[in-house]
């Protein structure tokens, strides 16, 4: 700068650097004191996004866009005639007057066409909002991760039955919600080419440390990227029991298309009664879906071209013993015991083994 020496400039820059450092220190001090709550600046940014076209979500965005369509559907033929020159304004008015009838004829048709399109969008938006309201009514809060029961499929009563059902399968087999990988190892030991998936990194750690082929993915996401008819067997257990109805349908569709014809589906589930008596009230109330009865799965699988080879019941055995028939009123008491066993204590789990036939 004129009149400045290099020393002057350097001195000023050094001073401004000091000032900037002090400004930074002031910001840090304000944050530490709580004057600037953590996340405040992010919240300010997010608030502005709500006013931007890309920030508007769902209904607000639809309505905002529709308002733009409505606004653009109107065409004003009254062109401005102002001019800084007197003659300019006169000429513009003359043109507007001379072409007015013609423009009006054409524009009226354009506007009618635009309003027809706009009306169609209004109908669509109303319909979409009705759908959103219906979907929203069925929404349930996410199930807390820590209340999902631990499963160790390899040690379960149904591990041997699963191995028997899959024995001889030559294509790969996937185990959903494989947990610590014990069932995967058991099936491999039985000569079945098996790998596992589980949405939780944490529960997979023991399997990973043992070198078992397991991936941190949910079964739905995983099957979504598997090629069609690539799997010889699928073992479903764990969270598949309480999927939302639409998610269950999607899973069934994926299972049907990813299994080879002749491939085997092994499905393990608790009974609805066993589930209700075994889970906490929180799980019972918030679980997005409910386990189905074995008969329901059989029906669903049959409708998708599966042949159900076997349904095995098992699981927690806490059944009450019948009393000696020589005892007084034994028949009445034993009938009551049977009812209690079936309703509350009977086999609380089942295994459905099905084969894809088409």
């Amino acid at each position: 700068m004129p009149g400045d020496t290099a020393t002057d400039v350097a001195e000023r820059i050094r001073y401004l650097d000091e000032v900037m450092a002090e400004i930074d220190a002031e910001v840090r001090r304000r944050r530490a004191s709580g004057d600037l709550p953590a996340g405040l600046e992010r919240e300010l940014d997010e608030l502005f996004l709500e006013f931007s076209p890309v920030g508007l979500q769902g209904r607000a965005r639809l309505r905002e866009t529709l308002a733009l369509v409505d606004g653009a559907a109107y065409i004003d033929i009254a062109v401005p005639t102002a001019s800084n020159k007197a003659v300019g304004s006169y000429v513009k008015r003359l043109i507007r007057k001379g072409l007015g009838w013609y423009m009006n004829f054409v524009v009226t048709q354009i506007v009618k066409s635009a309003w027809s399109v706009s009306r169609m969008f209004h109908v669509l938006v109303d319909h979409v909002e009705d759908l959103e309201a219906a979907v929203e009514a069925h929404r349930s809060p996410d199930l807390p991760a820590d209340v999902i029961p631990d499963a160790l499929p390899g040690e379960a009563w149904w591990a041997a039955a699963t191995a028997d059902a899959l024995r001889g399968t030559t294509d790969r087999v996937v185990v959903a919600d494989c947990g610590d990988g014990a069932l995967v190892e058991a099936l491999i030991a039985a000569g079945i080419d098996t790998y596992g998936v589980d949405p939780s990194d944490l529960v997979l750690e023991p399997a990973l440390s043992r070198g078992v082929d397991v991936r941190a993915e949910g079964i739905v996401d995983h099957l979504g990227v598997v090629a069609g008819e690539a799997l010889g067997g699928i073992v479903l257990t764990g969270s598949v029991q309480w999927l939302r109805p639409n998610e269950r349908e999607h899973l069934l569709e994926l299972v049907t298309t990813r299994l080879t014809v002749g491939g085997t589906l092994v499905l393990h589930s608790t009974t609805p009664e066993g589930w209700a008596s075994s889970v906490t009230p929180v799980v019972r109330d918030l679980a997005p879906g409910r386990p189905l009865h074995a008969e329901t799965w059989v029906h669903l699988l049959a409708s998708r071209g599966f042949d159900v080879a076997d349904t095995v019941r098992g699981g927690t055995d806490r059944r009450l013993s019948r009393i000696d028939t020589g005892t007084a009123d034994a028949d009445t008491v034993n009938a009551a015991i049977d009812t209690i066993n079936d309703l509350l204590l009977g086999p609380t789990e089942y295994l459905v083994v099905a084969t894809r036939t088409r």
Binding site: G3, L16, E22, I23, R30, E41, D45, F48, F51, P53
Partner: protein, 364 residues
């Protein structure tokens, strides 16, 4: 006779590019050269100073040099690509389309076309003149064979620093002793007005609950402007954010005079004339280090590495409280203005264009 003719998409009064173009024409003529302005469109007020670009071929003479004022898309660019005369670009930058993607599809298309035209013109030109080194780098990257940095020709002394006293009194009466932050520039996404609003909210929260933000500039992206003011409303700042547009020179001078701090948080600036206006008005500057801001500002303001509201608020507070700092910034601003003195810039343009045109006479 040396002839340097300018082409500009639109010749408008009270417009930086329009003023620059007309001032350059006068400088070229004062140097004894022929110089006309060819346009795609001209405002009624300036019709008599402009000729439609389609008429140039009939007037073309051997030895003409064509200078294109490039800052937006225009059929003029296509026209110049087909001309045989030596072409010089005077590049004022084109805002990248990414800034408009969330807001205006037609503007995205317009600026994308402008940037394509820059890319086509840059290698075709014999020289690119850029307002800033930032702009010059863009031209070089696009294949321009040579560049010169010459600032935009702004004659800040032309109006003698006029201040409309009545406007100044009106503004003062509105806010009393409250701190006033000012930004001048069109309301457009690259100027980040939302960050100014967030900074005001934070400044009021931490330092001065009565502080105000004055925004001056035309609304060129209506959806964005609506979002900025709705945002201010949502934050309870509807009465604290004051917008002015269509101001006279004297009124604009009053808004600068009235402000305590000029705050610029633009994310993309090719030069930023309002920084010079703030320097002239003696308003201390706090600005985000983005685009060409740092080189325009030099050491005449607090240059922020981030637009985070807390940092901006703390910087404004520091300038407000620290008289020595404010005085130093204002003095540095006055010195910095010397680098952009109109006489100096005129000489630079005539010197640079004279070399290209082979002029044997350069204005003293």
């Amino acid at each position: 006779m040396t002839a340097v003719h300018q082409f500009v998409p639109a010749l408008l009064p009270r417009d930086a590019t329009g003023d620059h173009t007309r001032a350059l024409r006068d400088a070229f003529r004062a140097a004894g050269w022929e110089s006309e302005i060819y346009v795609e469109a001209a405002h009624d007020e300036l019709q008599h100073e402009a000729t439609y670009f389609e008429k140039y071929p009939a007037k073309a003479r051997p030895g003409d040099v064509l200078l294109y004022q490039l800052g937006t898309s225009s059929p003029v660019a296509e026209f110049l690509l087909g001309r045989p005369e030596p072409l010089v670009l005077d590049y004022h930058n084109v805002t990248p389309e990414s800034f408009y993607e969330a807001w205006e599809e037609h503007t995205v298309a317009k600026v994308a076309l402008a940037r394509r035209q820059v890319a086509e013109l840059a290698p075709r030109a014999i020289l690119g003149i850029a307002d800033s080194a930032f702009n010059a780098r863009e031209l070089t990257e696009l294949g321009c064979p040579a560049t010169e940095v010459v600032p935009i020709l702004v004659d800040l002394d032309a109006d003698g620093g006029a201040v409309d006293d009545a406007e100044l009194a009106r503004l003062s009466a509105r806010h009393g002793t409250a701190t006033v932050l000012l930004f001048v520039g069109r309301i457009s996404p690259n100027k980040s007005h939302e960050h100014l609003v967030a900074a005001l909210w934070t400044y009021r929260h931490l330092y001065d609950p009565d502080a105000r933000l004055h925004l001056v500039g035309p609304t060129v992206t209506p959806d964005y402007a609506a979002a900025v003011f709705a945002y201010a409303d949502e934050l309870g700042l509807a009465d604290a954010v004051h917008h002015g547009e269509g101001l006279t020179t004297g009124q604009l001078g009053a808004w600068y005079e009235d402000a305590d701090v000029f705050v610029c948080l633009s994310r993309h600036e090719g030069f930023c004339i309002p920084l010079l206006e703030a320097m002239r008005a003696g308003t201390p500057i706090v600005a985000l280090d983005a685009g060409a801001v740092a080189e325009t500002l030099s050491d005449a303001g607090i240059l922020l590495p981030t637009a985070r509201p807390a940092t901006v608020a703390a910087a404004v507070d520091r300038v407000r409280r620290d008289r020595r700092l404010a005085d130093l910034l204002v003095a540095a601003g006055h010195r910095r203005l010397g680098d952009f003195a109109a006489r100096r810039t005129r000489e630079r343009f005539v010197e640079v264009l004279g070399r290209v045109a082979g002029a044997d006479r350069v204005m003293a």
